[in-house]
Amino acid sequence: MDSRLNEVRETFANFADEDGKWKYLLDLARAHKGMDAALKDEKFIIQGCASTMYLVPKFDGEKIHFEMDVEGGTTNPLISRGLGALALKVYNDMAPADILAVDPKFFQDIGLNVGLSPTRSNGFASLVKQIYLYARVYMALSKK
C-alpha cells in the first residue's frame, strides 16, 4: 500500500510545473480502459461530478476491485477520467481495511487540488468518498 502512495507522491513531487500534472492526468486517462456497457447502471453514478462517472465495485471477500468509466456526452472528459484513473491507481484491488487506512487527505497533501476547477475538485472528492463508503460496507459485511 505504501509503495503505491509513495509512487504517486513522488510522481507529483517531480512535476516541473502545473502542465506536467495535467499531462500526467491525460496519460492516465488515455491508458485507462473503460468498462463493459452492461455494468453502467444508474446506481453506480458518482453524484456531484460534472461528467457522468461510473464506479462499480466487486468484492472477492478479500479485496475490492473497481471498474470506472466517465462519459461526457459530446465532449471527451479526459481530466475527469484521468482523476478517476488516479484514484484507482491508489485504491484499486486493496482490502477494505487498507483503503480505510489511507489518509483521505492524501491527494490534497500531494497538491492534486491546486489548479483543479471546483467542479472537478468536488467530483473527485465525491469519488473518493464513495470508495471509502464501499470499503466500510464491505468491511462490515466481511466481519459478519
Partner: protein, 197 residues
C-alpha cells in the same frame, strides 16, 4: 539492370559478370543501362507522393488546429472583459472536438477552459436554485434581484434556462410595478410643489 523487384542488386550482377570473366581494363565491367525499370519508378513515385502528401496533410491539420484554438483563445480573452461571451467560448472549444490533431498542451488548455465554463454553469445553477427557493418563500423581490444582478453568460441548459427566463419575466414585472409605484409617489409631491408656487 538496377531493380528492386527482381531480387538482384547491381553488385550481384557485377559479381556474376566478374565470375564469368567479364572485365574492362582488368576491372569488372560495371552494369550498364537504365538505373531502374518503369515499374520501380512508378513504385518509388507513389511512395514519395505518399510521404510528401502525408506530411502536407499533417502540416495542414496542425495549422488548422492552431488557427481554431487561436480563435477560441481570442474569444476567451474577450470574454474575460465581457462575461456574456463565455457561451461563445464554449461553443468554440466544443467545435475543436472535430479536429483530427490536438497536441497535449492544447488538450490541457481545452479541458481547463471547458472546466472553467462548467464551473460558471454550476454557479449559475446555484443562483437559479437560490432564486427558486426565494420564489417558494413568496419573496419575488429577492428572486428578481438574483437574476437581474447576474451579469454572466447564459450557460444553463434548456430546462434550467426556461426556469431562469420565467424568473427574469417576474423580475421585469416586479421592476415595472416598482417603477409605477415610484412614479405614483412622485406625482402628488410634484402636484403639491406646483400648488405652493
Amino acid at each position: 539492370m538496377f531493380s528492386f523487384l527482381n531480387g538482384k542488386s547491381p553488385f550481384d550482377e557485377a559479381e556474376e559478370r566478374l565470375e564469368a570473366g567479364e572485365t574492362v581494363n582488368g576491372k569488372p565491367k560495371l552494369p550498364t543501362g537504365p538505373i531502374m525499370g518503369w515499374q520501380d519508378g512508378v513504385f518509388l513515385l507513389v511512395i514519395i507522393g505518399l510521404i510528401v502528401g502525408g506530411y502536407q496533410y499533417y502540416q495542414y491539420v496542425k495549422r488548422n488546429c492552431a488557427e481554431t484554438f487561436a480563435k477560441c483563445d481570442a474569444l476567451y480573452v474577450a470574454a474575460s472583459e465581457d462575461a456574456s461571451k463565455f457561451a461563445e467560448v464554449e461553443t468554440c472549444y466544443e467545435a475543436t472536438w472535430d479536429l483530427a490533431f490536438v497536441s497535449d498542451t492544447l488538450e490541457v488548455l481545452r479541458q481547463n477552459r471547458l472546466g472553467e465554463i462548467e464551473d460558471m454553469r454550476n454557479a449559475q445553477k446555484d443562483l437559479l436554485s437560490s432564486a427558486n427557493d426565494a420564489l417558494d418563500k413568496g419573496d419575488t423581490a429577492a428572486a428578481a434581484k438574483i437574476v437581474t444582478e447576474y451579469k454572466g453568460a447564459m450557460l444553463l441548459y434548456t430546462g434550467d434556462k426556461s426556469e431562469w427566463d420565467e424568473i427574469v419575466k417576474i423580475a421585469e414585472v416586479q421592476a415595472a410595478k416598482e417603477a409605477a409605484k415610484a412614479a405614483a409617489a412622485a406625482e402628488p409631491a410634484a402636484d403639491s410643489a406646483a400648488a405652493k408656487k
